[in-house]
């Protein structure tokens, strides 16, 4: 066998084995998805089709939350373009209302009553106001958030956008897309922006 033929045989073998390997990996994932679609049922407001991944979830799931940079940037841009800012341009609500929303862990489970506004679940994962010592650590501390960043229109816009759709800034972020998913209303997001940015908010107290 000449060198050329050897090379062709080698390439063919490599392709065959990598195809077999890919098959096996794809199988378990596909089996898992098919199984969940079979086993999970609608209850309350939690519809069965929630186990169908959307495009962004599929990319994050298939890349273990590490998508190629170019792809991530393109998809982040798509998410960014989908953020709906208030028509009146007012992004700062009432920080006291924001604190209540940040405290509430309700919303979108099959035991939550339909039609009742959900909570932000914020303290589940973040340190925020200095009075609340029962806070989670899955996300970064937001204490002094506004003090560190100021309260400029740009920061307001970024903060509103981050709460509305965290994936616009970090494609596979662990944080839910609260506005995008319909988990929080425009008014609720405004109140949370105030909690983080209003100089009178305890978040920014010395």
């Amino acid at each position: 066998m000449n060198d050329m033929n050897k090379t062709i045989v080698f390439i063919a073998a490599a392709l065959a084995s990598s195809a077999a390997l890919a098959d096996e990996i794809r199988n378990y994932r596909a089996e898992a998805v098919a199984m969940m679609k079979r086993d999970f049922k609608t209850r309350g407001g939690a519809a069965a089709d929630r186990v169908h991944e959307d495009g962004l979830q599929a990319v994050c799931n298939r890349t273990s939350d590490n998508p190629p940079k170019a792809l991530a940037e393109r998809l982040e841009k798509d998410q960014l373009e989908g953020i709906k800012y208030p028509a009146d341009g007012k992004l700062l609500g009432d920080w006291k209302e924001g604190e209540k929303i940040a405290q509430s862990g309700r919303g979108m489970t099959w035991t939550d009553p339909a039609g009742v506004p959900g909570g932000g679940n914020c303290y589940n994962c973040h340190q925020i106001g200095p009075q609340e010592t029962s806070f989670g650590t899955l996300g970064p501390s937001l204490y002094q958030y506004g003090k560190l960043r100021g309260n400029s229109p740009e920061i307001q816009k970024y903060t509103y956008g981050k709460i509305w759709n965290a994936k616009a800034f970090n494609l596979c972020s662990a944080m839910p897309r609260f506005g995008h998913a319909g988990a929080l209303t425009e008014q609720q997001v405004r109140h949370l922006v105030a909690l983080l940015l209003d100089p009178a908010s305890p978040v920014n107290s010395k």
Binding site: M35, R38, N61, F135
Partner: protein, 285 residues
């Protein structure tokens, strides 16, 4: 029967929830909120201490006793009994079976977790109706279904044994691998997977410490204490209930009781915890 168990049963007859709450040292169990600090939370530490005291007289024993009675004495309409039930170590063998499931069972041609196998046997040999069990799979403050008591008995028969779920049969390997995929699968309105909360070391939700269930020494924490006696309400909850409640908080739809998906997830989590010692039915907040 141990005297303290009789006392407990008498107390439980009067009021199961109150009997336990009455023993609760209120000052100890309710530390000031300010005490909570980063790291292992003060509330968690206090609860661990409280649990150690309570486990001396764990009300789970009541349910173990009831389950033992059903296992040993109950007869099905055709004269069947749980002595015919093979939990993987031979017909009627209970000792050590709980920590060796999920496993492949040739008679059904698939993998079953402990809870699923127990229910399978109760339907097959004792004449329980699967539809009834699916209608009320979990306990509440009014009802503890019989299968929950039997599962608690079976679990108690693996107390202080090492977890040793097999991963040899191709279907056991497949269940483990599918379970691993389910663990990492992000979906739903919050984009959460199991790994969102249980994929890193040293994280908390509020003051609740979260185990990283991908690591063997932490995976035990999803297994330990189940089935568990829940102090708020005073009833037994199983590991399947715990998986169900995780999916609820993940904002997923509800997994059907005893479904392949939950078995696969349990296969992944249990195999990961292999080698750790199971302490038997426990107590939960």
């Amino acid at each position: 029967m141990k005297p303290r168990l009789i006392t407990l049963m008498a107390a439980a007859l009067i009021s199961a929830p109150l009997a336990v709450h009455a023993q609760q040292p209120a000052k100890k169990a309710a530390p000031p909120a300010k005490a909570a600090a980063p790291g292992k939370s003060a509330i968690t530490e206090e609860f661990e201490k409280f649990r150690e005291v309570l486990e001396e007289d764990n009300p789970a024993e009541l349910f173990e006793a009831k389950g033992e009675d059903i296992w040993k004495n109950r007869k099905g309409p055709d004269g069947g009994s749980m002595a015919q039930c093979d939990l993987g170590l031979g017909a009627g063998v209970v000792k050590g079976a709980y920590v060796r499931m999920p496993r492949y069972f040739a008679d059904v041609g698939g993998v079953m977790d402990a809870e699923r196998r127990v229910v399978h046997c109760m339907v097959k040999y004792l004449g329980y109706q699967e539809a009834d069990i699916l209608r009320q799979p979990f306990s509440n403050d009014r009802v503890t279904p019989d299968h929950v008591s039997v599962i608690t008995y079976v679990a108690g028969q693996s107390r202080n044994l090492k977890i040793a779920a097999p991963k040899k049969h191709p279907k056991e390997i497949a269940a483990y691998e599918i379970g691993r995929e389910i663990f990492a699968y992000r979906a739903g309105p919050y984009d959460f997977s199991c790994a969102t909360c249980h994929g890193d070391d040293g994280k908390r939700i509020r003051t609740q410490d979260l185990p990283n269930l991908r690591k063997p020494d932490q995976a035990i924490r999803a297994y330990q204490g189940w089935p568990g006696y829940r102090m708020t309400g005073g009833f037994m909850l199983t590991q399947q209930w715990r998986m169900n409640d995780c999916f609820r908080q993940q904002r997923f739809p509800e997994p059907t009781y005893l479904s392949d998906s939950v078995t696969a997830l349990l296969a992944y989590m249990t195999v990961t915890a292999n080698g750790q010692v199971y302490k038997g039915p426990g107590i939960k907040r």
